[in-house]
Subunit: 376 residues, 4 copies
């Protein structure tokens, strides 16, 4: 693995590294950690990388690694930069024969997303999008329960992703995380919408197996001087006639990382909270509430497959993230060995497009005073 | 107290009686429990009432009790009938000199609500609307925290009232509760909207002290053949610029009585769940999460005033309901003694109008494909 | 009902009155609310009682009421005084033909308890002990699950009753509640042991249907100068070979009223918390965790029988207390009509003896450095 | 790192590897994964190790690695075998100049533990014991709060470690985990006592900073034919006069990994649950309940220091385990550079002795019918 972005002090770059390391299948061999050559070298050194594989730019890294003998050169790149720096390295890597793991939202806009799809399809290389929350065992169990019809036809969804860390004007302090997220040139059309709203959208479609058909979005800009949204409330209509709400915020004062979803079917419902990820609460019209746990009783194989440790030992954010990396690595191994793999199970370039379409539709709906807007 | 409706087998009539009894301030002395004279007598007998005070109609009760000497006749009536039978007995009682406690929604429509306000204002008699959830100590604490500015200016509200008991076609069985709720002639414009959506609306305005300025409502009719809504998702815009969502359902399979609210201000937020009513969770931008309990540490006097028992002994639905009755009884005592009382603290005829305006606006918005619609 | 004790400002007297009132089956007709004649009158007046039925002593009340015609005189007395004033009024009432509801612990010692049993058996009158926590629907469900063998043979019990209100020397302030509880002449052999330890003991035997065979008790006296225990940790051995712990405290700083129990059988286990009484959590060796709720799905009839309101509307301390009163009232009605009743379902004089035997054994064990001590 | 034990299919070996990998500071370079040479090779291959560094025994590994040049040979060994195979490899590694990370309980008995202390002291090499639960940020916060006097003097402790996976006779199936745990020759004096009771003991002393002075233990053997305990209830007396209970079980049917502790001081108390490790609940005599979270508001530096990711992103079992490895690696780095390090912060050989003393005292007490027994 070669990393783009994620220099010392980066939040998400460190997460990618830890997630990739957990299962012992992936080794970081090089990186272009920073646009500053000096910081790039320093970051590499702190990661015990040889100096000659700490590159000053992603182009340099990709071109140099390409020259290395097979078995020595990196197999894929991991992109952990702000949103505006996803598309170019992803495209360049693919065009030079490297597989890609990329953070979300995938690109700045639909146009870029479609172009990336074209490159992936043309090259036949692998592309994983780190919608990490899909890696939780209880999210897998939720998806399997819906897919197996346990809940009956889905009627209602409520999903939310609430953070409070931007309740004050942190972007005016030295907070680099806040600075790029509030800057349209680096973040794209959406602020909180792209940053966390897309996680809520992805989780909804992932668990229910249903597309959002149309939405009505009322976005907020509560932080003084903010151009991009920092809050939003959205009505959803799913392709099968189900309805719902999607709410997100980075000004929900006091919230830490409150991603949660409830899905209601004809026969029962389920509820999952990211901050307490090792419980899946299910409620039924004719049975008592049942609570599932990773590696606990009564799971579908899809859920059991992604638990690493015995029941009652909590897994968290890094493990779920690691599951995306692990299934990518397993797919890559299979491909390298010339084996077929059925469903690699990680979010891909089409999920990435879906996220951009969601962002675009929500922004457009908001501009039209929350008028119903179709996705794509 | 004389009761209208609430014969044997009624859910809400029994609740009113228990709630009125708890504090030892109110005695049931007569009733018109059923439109069937026979059932009315039987119900009265089961409640240990003398036969001559079990009336066959509310008109008979009101006119007969009026003839009794002061001190013996009932002081007020409690109306516990389906929605379409609130207005007439309320009006008739007021016009004949009796105070009124009435279940919600107050009337079938705005016109009736305004007429009732006129009668209340003309007679100067007392009128309480049993928005019972306002009686919980932790709801009082929430309201006081907002009013005292602890949270700063309110920016976001999320409120929901989710039940699942109508997930199947219970109205086609012998379920009387479901039958009238799905019948527009008895329930009014709204189904679940009027039955429980109004509780969510009332709780929102009660705690935040803010009016909902406009809404965009997407109502659902998931039960086969249902004319009235059984589900709804609503975007809210509050008078001060805050935004939010209000969701309700009676087809949220597996939910029992999940009324919950979260209110986000500039400095902190609060969260309350009706099914676990003795906790008020608060989160802050600069302090750890704090959880308040009835009669626990750190409460405002408004919350402490309505706790009946020491901290850690849970109070529930009946106690909150009883608090509405108790404050009504205390107001009535004060009035009978010629004393003034500052804020009697129970929901009144204006809250009732507000509920009807909310129902009306939501139905109108829904008919216009969730177009923004002002309340009033 | 005539009340002994429970004058203005009393905690438990007020609880008894509210609990007796909720179901509309019991009316307070007289009282001997205080040993001060003046306070007794004032208390009665505040409760809307006629002056001539506010008595200066329990003897006066019992003898006077006895002279009143049937149908007018009280049917039973409710004893809500400190521990040392339970035995005499109970005995005197029974000897004069009145049934008795009595707070716990029933008497000051085993000797009194046995004497009371003799009187109850000799008179054939009814005697209810207000072990109120047995009235919770989820406690009834727990008992029924064990009785029906759902858990298999019981192997382990953990029970606790933790309060923190005596963490500081409140008995040296004007706190009347603390004053008598720390005074051996009024409280008996046990401090917290008698006050709340007995609830833990009673709950354990009630739910498991098993007697505690022997115990090893290590009592604490953490409050400076306290003669009676304010904390205790006890090892339990049940009659069937199950083992367990029982812990109680009134100096567990920060705890409000944390009574909780976990019972483990061969096939599954259950957990109940008084502060969140409307959930019964069950865990299984081969199924996911199931959570039961009052009037929710999957209950045994014994649990459903004591829920007053639809699922999801919380019931609390007063309702559970009221269930003891209601079943006593129903038994009394049956007896007055000459009907037999199978299991009246309320704690009785034998449970009262059991509590005293538990207190006595625990104090004796503690004096012997926690040596194993048989109960009785 | 070279690993002893932990071949394919091992639970704890895999945990050690993942935990060591997360932070990118430690690389697995060799192993003696199994006593079967063939399985050892296979395990090594699955871990991408070169064949010549997959050894057939720990002796071979230690002696061979010793011959490798510095920088290439392993720096330390990680011992992940059953209890009876801790002492010998640890001693042999130390005597040959390798540092040691060892699973708990450290040895089979006190004698071995003292001998190991002597070797550690004689060689001056590092020794870490993987009492992994000490690595949780909220456990660090708990320890810091007690140390800073926030709770006042400690009065009461309640700790438990409850599992249910041995509720049935799993040791008679192919369950290797159960087989050695129920075998005195491989497990030592204690069964569940050594396996999980020691975690409860360690957590108690770690958080409170107090030694357990004496205990009274009642152990159970509920599984048919079991020689070693599978359940236990213990009374505790701490060195400062505090009292408490410690309960553990592997036959607590339905429990997964319920390690939990409550500590009560004069001014407040704290509560932590391993299954929900990212919350520390604190209660106070004069303030509302406060709940702390990793990287959340109001933490002591000791807690903040061990959180890897922003607040609200849950960390779990592996991360806490990794914290032990990380602090060991940091200590090792410092030592290799000749730097001093103040408190390396990981459990050590003295904690290991403490565990053995606890096991020994508990077994002795149990043999004397739960007589009070001093630790050491």
């Amino acid at each position: 693995m070669g990393m783009v972005g994620g220099g010392t002090g980066s939040f998400i770059g460190d997460v990618h590294r830890k997630a990739a390391a957990i299962d012992g299948l992936i080794v970081l061999v090089c990186g272009a950690f920073s646009s500053s050559a000096e910081r790039a070298k320093e970051s590499g050194k702190a990661l015990f990388l040889p100096e000659n594989r700490c590159y000053g730019s992603f182009e340099e890294m990709i071109l140099s690694e390409k020259e290395l003998p097979e078995g020595e050169r990196m197999d894929f790149i991991a992109i952990t930069t702000p949103n505006h720096l996803h598309f170019l390295p992803a495209k360049f890597a693919l065009e030079n024969g490297f597989h890609v793991v990329c953070d979300k939202p995938m690109t700045l806009n639909i146009q870029e997303a479609k172009e990336l799809i074209a490159v992936v399809e043309a090259t036949g290389l692998l592309f994983a999008l780190t919608h990490n929350y899909t890696g939780h065992p209880m999210v897998r169990q939720a998806k399997a329960m819906v897919a197996n019809g346990d809940l009956g036809a889905i009627r209602k969804v409520q999903v939310q992703y609430l953070q409070g860390w931007m309740a004050t004007a942190v972007e005016k302090t030295a907070n680099k995380q806040a600075a790029w997220r509030t800057d349209p040139s680096r973040s794209g059309l959406g602020g909180a919408l792209g940053d966390i709203g897309t996680h809520a959208e992805n989780l909804t479609e992932y668990i229910t197996g249903l597309k959002i058909r149309e939405l009505a979005a009322d976005l907020g800009r509560f932080g003084e001087g903010r151009i991009l949204d920092d809050d939003g409330n959205i009505l959803l209509r799913m392709e099968n006639g189900a309805k719902g709400t999607l709410s997100f915020s980075q000004i929900a004062a006091g919230e830490e990382n409150n991603l949660a979803i409830r899905v209601y079917g004809e026969k029962g419902s389920l509820e999952w909270h990211q901050e307490n990820p090792n419980e899946l609460v299910t409620r039924w019209i004719d049975q008592p509430k049942k609570v599932f746990t990773p590696n606990g009783n009564g799971l579908y194989p899809e859920a059991a497959a992604v638990s690493r440790i015995p029941a009652g030992h909590p897994e968290g954010y890094l493990e779920a993230f690691a599951t995306v990396y692990r299934s990518f690595a397993q797919h890559l191994n299979a491909v390298l060995k010339g084996e077929a793999i059925k469903d690699p199970g990680y979010p891909n370039v089409y999920d990435g497009l879906r996220g951009l379409q969601f962002i675009t539709a929500a922004v457009q709906s908001d501009r039209n005073n929350a008028a119903w807007t179709k996705i794509e």
